[in-house]
Symmetry: C2
Subunit: 140 residues, 2 copies
DNA sequence: AATAATATGCAACTTAGTTGCATTTAATTA
DNA sequence: TAATTAAATGCAACTAAGTTGCATATTATT
């Protein structure tokens, strides 16, 4: 599967009804190929191997992909956003694992979260976010 | 209770066995007086009303308080750390609430988290972090 | 009061992310 | 296919949280 990812990206982006641009395709293709969440930096490096993409544009592309539910972003303790493509069974609420050694982030899809916690009076519940911290297999 | 907080802070810091400095006392006193988690900025502003404290020193004080388990820090989606004093029943694992409108953070002490999730093979579990997102009473 | 280890202030730095604006490109229409 | 136009892009400048190095001040000890 050489660049099935690019074709898959094209299908997904076309499906949003908005503009199908080269940079959106390239970026999404990279995220489709990855098993874990990538930082803006990591994506930039992978992109620039073939063809340069301005970092500001990449920020805007990632924001766009995020707003259109093609990816989701995850906040880490290192103040850096990580981006992961939304797989079919993936768009629902799920937990994340963060490796405290290499800061790698993976999505825990098998991990259901039961919601509706009791909040102080007058508070409005929206969603619950669960992060598991530990050490990944490569770092043990 | 005028500055019971300063006295309480003195007791807590003396108890660590390390140096009892004016800045540690002032900073901890401010955190003791608050019901929710404060950013470095918010603490700085409160401190500077009475007497200036260098921002770098404050970073170091907060790091010290954190390492000595007198406060804990919470990562928000705005890439800013928030600090909250560790109350007696508070040091255990608990959940946090983040207001998506004003970014205020409170600790949900009544909220127990059951741990030991199933992770991929070779992964090491350390702890689980639960964040509830919604809108606080003042922002509804 | 003298000592020594630690805390502090200040300047300079790092880095993720944002903003404004002129130019280019994707999609629509003629 | 060429003209049109709204949205996407590149670039420079900016913002803001947090860090580092080093000289000076303060705490705790003798
Ligand atoms: Mn995920
Ligand atoms: Mn808390
Ligand atoms: Zn790891
Ligand atoms: Zn609020």
């Amino acid at each position: 599967m050489p660049n099935n990812f690019y074709e898959k990206a094209k299908e997904l982006i076309r499906h949003t009804g908005y503009r199908v641009t080269h940079n959106r395709l390239r970026t999404l293709a990279i995220l489709l190929a990855e098993q874990y969440a990538l930082t803006h930096r990591e994506i930039e490096e992978r992109l620039n191997v073939k063809e340069h993409l301005d970092r500001v544009t990449l920020y805007r592309v990632l924001e766009w992909l995020s707003k259109n539910n093609l990816v989701h972003k995850i906040a880490g303790d290192d103040r850096v956003w990580r981006f992961r493509v939304n797989m079919e069974l993936h768009s629902h609420q799920h937990a994340h694992f963060i490796c405290t050694r290499c800061t790698k982030v993976i999505c825990l899809n098998n991990f259901r979260i039961k919601s509706n916690p009791s909040l102080p009076l007058g508070y409005l519940f929206h969603e619950v976010e669960l992060t598991v911290k530990g050490v990944c297999a490569e770092c043990v």
